[in-house]
Symmetry: C3
Subunit: 267 residues, 3 copies
């Protein structure tokens, strides 16, 4: 059961502690996810060189933070750095949030996910229904990076994936499903136009990492992150004329997010 | 002869079919071109790894789509992936739209264009006058990625380049020229302030790819893409205070583009 | 002593001459710094391939311009290209503006700065207080890419660093300090919300490069760039609801910057 008061507590913690969120992410969203993290009150850093990712994880550990691994624009060197960063984060108990962008679209993406997740179990996996199902069953092919599956099968897939990797799985969609394999919660916030802004799924992953940095319960952290994502999206949609203005007001909504808005809007 | 009704038909097709546009493009514009594609109704994907580009082209073929090759921030591995993607696209009849960003500025860029275009003839090449002329004659040096040549010589160069590669060539500028080597059309839409937003040329290329995915006539596809580009730019400029707000409203204009706006504004 | 009339003279020069600013910079800010350069009137180009950076410096020299080196998302090949570009720029007297993003956060970043700066002394170094102090003393560890040090020690560190590399050092913060090792000036423009937009420090570096391309006095160029940065930030903050709208209006403010605004706001 998600409570507005607990979401607000996490938002206040993020603003007070400015957790360091280390992102190894795709080129498309580096700027937009960094901005979303700054707007919610976190401190983003992007670092992908093999020579520095472990040291950056050490720094993340010492000041408090989390790691984002996002496979949106893969290549071999980046995969090696993702692997090294995940191992270091696991050793140092830094929360890991994993985004399997486009899993199911190509063998490279699906196999890379299986390898990385097989080596190091993350704290939270967030994807759309197609991606989550492709992680579970390699025979499903998705259409690029947008979701091609509805929610019906999503809960079962999410639970099975959570059980396999002993982690929390978040399936984002019209209704967001978050499960640890046994319990699950749903979030019904958000707006349809958000699908027309590139990388808002990746932004959700980054925000979840900020919440995971301040909240030791990964089910709550993922749910709180998705709720804030959806609420800020609704606030932005009310002022938006199209996806351009939606993105813009989304940042401002994160920055100005108040207890009242969360209480009023949480579904 | 470009007709508003036919442009509108293509826009409706893109919105209905959401063609997959596979981009191997430069770091500067990955986010902005993905957003423009989403706003017009297409489904963008960015993938550059040698291990996945051919499979992504296969997916693009199976769901309907097009390939964008944009050389704006080159390096050797990316060139190899561009080459592999273009060959796969040619084999599978996936339309290829090529953007020779900064051709003429450095030997690497000019030679890379000659090599890629010599191996696989694209469906459409779009560049500014300097770039198109540099592709035709290697002795011309351009000033970085902005155009340093006016339109007078552009038509002759475009026709010669189209004849050389048996493709459609689009020269964007104050007046856009689109030719298949024999016929040509011109588009007079757009706004001067668009030159002060980075990557709107690359955005034109990406939009043309969305049109090429739904319209089998490349001359029409390129002309329709440029017309929509210019019309959305005019709509945005009417609300803009500067290049920041221009970019923002440009996205919204693509998203809200109506038959009426096209009919009213097409020049 | 910074004078509004001299800042305005530089702005007019940039608008009239559109200097080419060659950026080897990080993935996060490529789009935003290109847009800021276009808005102030410069002509940005991004090129990082080892095969083309020297030729691009030659072009930059021939049309008038400057080089930006920004280490925000490092990897070995990029470091090699940065080194080659800096050597070529030094040989051809192209101004070099260096941004040590995250120096002090990892050994790779700190050592890369020491190596690059030890090989080729830049014209101007711009960083926050943490970064500047980390360049001076390798034992300081900074928290990611945001500043963790205040201004008190900043002036001494800046002067010492300027003396070591015979260059101008700019420490940005609530009060910006610019020194050539003996003289120094301060700029008190800007707005606190600017710290919540990613890459505005990198944008300051890019703008300084545009000023360095038209003003042969590096102390003045850096100070004028920082003043314009702060003034445009103040103009944007007056219209902004949050960091999203701040970024947007910042671009428009650069584009619309007038002599009157500079005179009225310069502190």
């Amino acid at each position: 059961m998600i409570e507005a008061a607990k979401i607000w507590l996490d938002v206040q913690s993020i603003r007070a502690r400015a957790p360091l969120v280390h992102n190894i992410t795709n080129y498309v969203v580096m700027n937009t996810t960094a901005n979303a993290l700054l707007c919610i009150g976190a401190s983003p850093v992007m670092a992908h060189a093999g020579e520095e990712v472990e040291e950056m994880i050490g720094l993340t550990r010492s000041v408090g933070g989390a790691l984002v691994i996002n496979i949106g624009t893969l290549s071999q060197k980046w995969i090696a750095s993702m692997s090294a960063a995940m191992r270091a984060a696991k050793t140092l108990n830094v929360p890991i949030v994993f985004d399997p962008v486009g899993a199911g679209a190509t063998t490279l993406r699906t196999n890379t996910c299986h390898k990385l997740l097989g080596d190091v179990s993350p704290t939270i996996i967030r994807g759309n229904a197609s991606e989550i199902m492709a992680l579970l069953d390699s025979h499903i092919q998705t259409k690029g990076v947008d979701s091609s599956e509805g929610a019906p099968l999503a809960l079962d897939s999410a639970k099975a994936l959570a059980a396999r990797y002993h982690c929390v799985v978040c399936v984002s969609g019209e209704v967001d499903i978050i499960t640890n394999g046994s319990d699950h919660v749903t979030i019904r916030n958000g707006h349809a136009m958000m699908a027309r802004v590139t990388g808002l799924g990746c932004t959700a992953t980054a925000l979840i990492a900020a919440f995971a940095a301040v909240n030791p319960n990964p089910l709550d952290a993922a749910a709180h992150g998705m709720a804030v994502m959806g609420i800020a999206g609704e606030m932005a949609a009310e002022k938006a004329v199209g996806p351009g203005t939606l993105q813009l007001h989304f940042y401002d909504a994160l920055y100005n997010l108040s207890r009242e808005e969360i209480v009023k809007r949480l579904k």
